[in-house]
């Protein structure tokens, strides 16, 4: 799963810590999600999208695994 968190954060000049505070998780969570090392739950994905005032599919893009 890919995401545009880094781009969306940069557009808003938000640090990872600031986004983390907005969605009530740790900065480590945001860092891992942003770098693609951790997949958030649906609930957290929606919360992150909501923080960016975007749709969840505009923040996260799911790519099917290669067969």
């Amino acid at each position: 799963m890919q995401n545009k968190i880094r781009v969306l954060r940069a557009e808003r000049k938000w640090s990872q810590a600031e986004l983390a505070e907005r969605v009530s998780v740790s900065r480590n969570s945001i860092n891992s999600i942003e770098n693609g090392h951790f997949e958030p739950s649906l609930s957290l994905a929606f919360a992150i999208a909501h923080a960016f005032e975007s749709k969840v599919e505009d923040v996260f893009q799911w790519t099917p695994p290669r067969a």
Binding site: V23, S24, V25, R27, S29, I33, F38, S43, L44
Partner: protein, 158 residues
């Protein structure tokens, strides 16, 4: 989606203190406990162990509620593999004569035994360790079954 972990609350700090103080009280009381009847020693250490377990259990519940999903995944990963690695390492250590000798000498010191039975001490420790691993396995299985039933229950609003 819980908030990120904050500093411990006063209740958590108090529970942590209880968790530490109970076993320390047993260690401090060893010279006095040596003069007491066995039944009293077992009762005293049993009560201390129960207090520690209850405080640790309550603290872990409070701690878990403060974790976000990344931290919870971290805790699950480290607990799952940490227990397995720890149990394996302990089994490995028990196979080393130097470790067994050290263990017997510590037990002999604590029990004031001048000529301890090495085999008895090692067997007692090994059975204790094996018991912990077995009971942990049993509890893990029971909790897994309970979790499966809990998460498979029908929806309330349908």
């Amino acid at each position: 989606m819980p908030s990120p972990r904050k500093a411990g609350t006063p209740l958590q700090m108090a529970l942590f203190a209880v968790m530490i103080l109970a076993p320390i009280s047993v260690l401090i009381a060893i010279p006095w406990l040596k003069q007491q009847p066995d039944n009293f020693v077992f009762l005293y250490s049993g009560v201390a162990a129960a207090i520690t377990v209850v405080a640790a259990f309550a603290n872990s519940i409070l701690f878990d509620r403060q974790l976000d999903e990344w931290q919870r995944t971290n805790a699950r990963f480290s607990a799952q593999w940490g227990w397995a690695a720890g149990a394996g390492l302990m089994a490995l250590l028990l196979s080393l004569p130097i470790f067994r000798d050290w263990m017997v000498s510590v037990v002999a010191d604590l029990a004031d035994a001048t000529n301890p039975d090495d085999t008895l001490a090692i067997l007692a420790f090994t059975f204790g360790f094996g018991g912990v691993v077995l009971v942990q396995g049993l509890c893990t299985t029971l909790l897994s079954i309970g979790w499966t039933y809990w998460k498979s229950r029908p929806a309330r609003d349908q």
